[in-house]
């Protein structure tokens, strides 16, 4: 296995909840609470979870938009966890983020040329034939008309806006791109095009992706591996094939059951699992296994002992006391089932 491009170890972000004039901390939102994974060069890692489980926060931690409260982020062998903004500046070229909302990610007062050209200006990069030419080349690359250079974001559709956002992240030829729900704000008919564009760009520019999504269908085609997140923690991390074919965590099963199945014959076999209740608040997450309040397999142990993320099969890690589809040997290692 090659050296990972990005390695995240026990990453934590607890947002303080403050009160009063003196900003006294009264509580903490545990948005990300001990997440570990690696991203290998050239692969696409899908990061999936319900709304509010900390996906965006994870992305913003990796891009160092916010300061981690714990854990470690290593990019290309450099520990960037608490690197100063000044030292971080040159490294920012290598890690870029595509934002969730194409309407708020583009400054309405800037032209497309200014938006896509901003990376050059901010990083002080000279281009051979000027910034304008470089910007127009990128616009073409993402499937936009280079003559739209002087237009403003409000003149474009959601899909086109997301392409502008993608163009901006590509300007500095990054190595790693965190795509935060790049298509969730778009019409279904346009989602496919943007996903395909991301795939084409990956092949062409040798990119590594972390693609964030709130359901398992969007990342199915582009991911090599998928990580499932619940309330600030990873509950399952596996190769795409084993995750979609033999999901081990009940939560993954529930998410998968919500994904429409193309094959009508298989559709009958699988029952739709409806999760009970809402996602608990990250302000006060359930103890031990955070999923136990909504899990139909939960036992006493789930409320008292936190299940660690364990490798139960090759390329398949899961954090559950009663995993499904687990190989026999692994099942023995786990505490006695039912």
């Amino acid at each position: 296995m090659s050296e990972p491009l990005l390695s995240v170890q026990g990453l934590e972000k607890h947002f303080p909840v403050t009160k009063g004039l003196l900003q006294r901390q009264v509580a903490a939102v545990k948005a990300v609470d001990g997440v570990s994974f690696e991203v290998r060069k050239g692969e696409t890692l899908g990061l999936v979870g319900e709304s509010g489980c900390g996906k965006t926060t994870t992305g913003r931690l990796i891009t160092r938009l916010i300061e981690p409260t714990g854990g470690k982020i290593v990019f290309e062998g450099n520990d960037i966890t608490h690197m100063s903004q000044g030292k971080m500046r040159p490294l920012r070229r290598d890690v870029q983020m595509i934002f969730q909302d194409p309407y708020s990610s583009l400054n309405p007062r800037h032209t497309v040329g200014a938006i896509v050209g901003a990376p050059f200006r901010i990083q002080g990069i000279k281009t051979e034939q000027g910034v304008k030419k470089a910007v127009q080349d990128i616009l073409e690359l993402v499937g936009l008309n280079p003559e739209h250079y002087n237009r403003y974001p409000h003149e474009f559709s959601g899909g086109q806006r997301q392409r502008i956002g993608i163009a901006r992240t590509l300007a500095l030829k990054p190595k790693l791109i965190i795509a935060d729900e790049p298509v969730s704000a778009l019409d279904v008919s346009i989602q496919a095009q943007v996903v395909n564009l991301l795939e084409d760009l990956q092949n062409e520019l040798d990119l590594t992706y972390v693609v964030i999504a709130h359901d398992l269908s969007v990342v199915r085609h582009i991911s090599d591996r998928v990580a499932v997140m619940y309330l600030g923690k990873l509950v399952e991390l596996a190769d795409r094939k084993s995750l979609y074919e033999s999901p081990m965590h009940p939560y993954t099963n529930a998410l998968l059951s919500a994904v429409p199945i193309p094959d009508p014959k298989r559709r009958v076999e699988r029952e739709r699992i409806r999760l009970q209740g809402d996602v608990p608040s990250p302000l006060n997450p359930p103890p031990a296994c955070r999923f136990h309040t909504r899990c139909w397999k939960a036992q006493e142990i789930c409320k008292t002992v936190e299940p660690p993320l364990q490798k139960l099969a090759p390329g398949h890690e899961v954090a559950c006391h009663f995993p499904e589809n687990a190989p026999a040997a692994a099942a023995e290692a786990a505490p006695a089932a039912v």
Binding site: L21, Q23, S105, H148, Y152, H154
Partner: protein, 328 residues
């Protein structure tokens, strides 16, 4: 439905919101240009804007206008006054020489005094607004951008300022300031003082608005995008945020001017404004109160204030509708 990967339809191609006509080069319309198009359709606001421009021209060219008519605003015309009643002969004195008539007792030309009054009134209202806008924007952006304890301190300061009995303060200050202070004297000193008092106590209104706008801008993802590219604070404030604050700044500055016109008039009316004989609208009103039998003396400066305030308000409202249609 599989994952939406093979769905038809294209969002590619030319911009969809503006029809492209062949031969016309592709030029984007900025939000400013769109706002101007909206404003042009708003006839009431345009009329207000026209009056505003006219008033500014009158203030700038006051000496010229007065010279053309040959009347000096401080010159006494005793020959126009009936010595028995001290009222202008024929009631008002209105005629080709004195368009608005003359004042009772000393017979000063009301037209030239109203024209000159526009200078003081607009000068103080404009500069006080500029002062409020500068302080308000600086502190509002600072509070909104840095948040936390900085925000708490600035917000509490605003509350204190808003609770301050500014009128009482102005009267007291005007009373204790000598005729010469800070190297200034006469009208210059009084005008500077009024600008300071009015401008310095009004900044929290605009400061609050700018703080709120900055707070919401800070959460917008384009700010994160700039930061993830390595942009520093000044770049984000000046390049990313300020262009989005121009609209609210313009709107509230335009709406603050008439408030300040009224404020200055009130201070002059109370006798703590610019000293006589320099003509001000508020001062004229205050003089006119004693002569309620000569209503034209009160009418013209009163109308001047009324028209000025109305014109700025109409224009400001139209500007808000044009720049920020969602505000309604």
């Amino acid at each position: 439905m599989t994952a939406p990967l093979d769905a038809p339809g294209s969002d590619l191609g030319p911009g969809i919101l503006i029809a492209e006509r062949p031969g016309i080069p592709i030029v984007g319309r900025s939000l400013g240009q769109i706002a101007w198009m909206r404003l042009k359709r708003d006839k009431v606001a345009l009329a207000g804007g026209l009056v505003v421009i006219l008033l500014i021209l009158v203030a700038i060219f006051a000496p010229l206008i007065v010279k053309v008519l040959g009347q000096d605003p401080t010159q006494f015309n005793s020959d126009m006054i009936d010595p028995a009643t001290l009222v202008p002969k024929g009631g008002t004195g209105i005629g080709p020489d004195h368009l608005f008539g003359v004042e009772p007792v000393n017979g000063r030309d009301i037209f030239s005094r109203v024209v000159y009054g526009a200078r003081i009134s607009l000068l103080i209202a404009f500069l006080a607004t500029v002062l409020s806008v500068v302080i308000g924007t600086l502190l509002g952006v600072t509070a909104g951008y840095f948040g936390g304890i900085v925000d708490s301190i600035i917000s509490k300061t605003m509350d204190v300022f808003l609770a301050f009995p500014i009128l009482v303060f102005a009267i007291a200050l005007a009373g204790v300031i000598p005729d010469t202070a800070f190297g200034l004297s006469g009208d210059t000193l009084r005008v500077s003082l009024l600008i300071f008092i009015i401008g310095f106590f009004n900044w929290p209104y605009i400061g609050r608005i700018i703080r709120g706008q900055t707070l919401s801008l800070r959460e917008r993802e384009f700010v994160d995008a700039a930061r993830s590219l390595g942009a520093r604070g000044p770049y984000i404030i000046f390049r990313e945020m300020l262009p989005n604050l121009v609209a609210p700044i313009l709107i509230y500055a335009t709406l603050l001017i008439p408030t300040n016109v009224l404020f200055e008039a009130a201070l002059s009316f109370l006798g703590v404004g610019v000293r006589p004989p320099t003509p001000t609208w508020g001062g004229m009103l205050s003089d006119a109160v004693r002569f309620y039998t000569v209503p034209h003396f009160m009418f013209f400066p009163g109308m001047a204030i009324f028209i000025t305030v109305l014109a700025f308000n109409l224009f400001g409202d139209g500007l808000r509708d044009a720049l920020d249609p969602k505000a309604r």
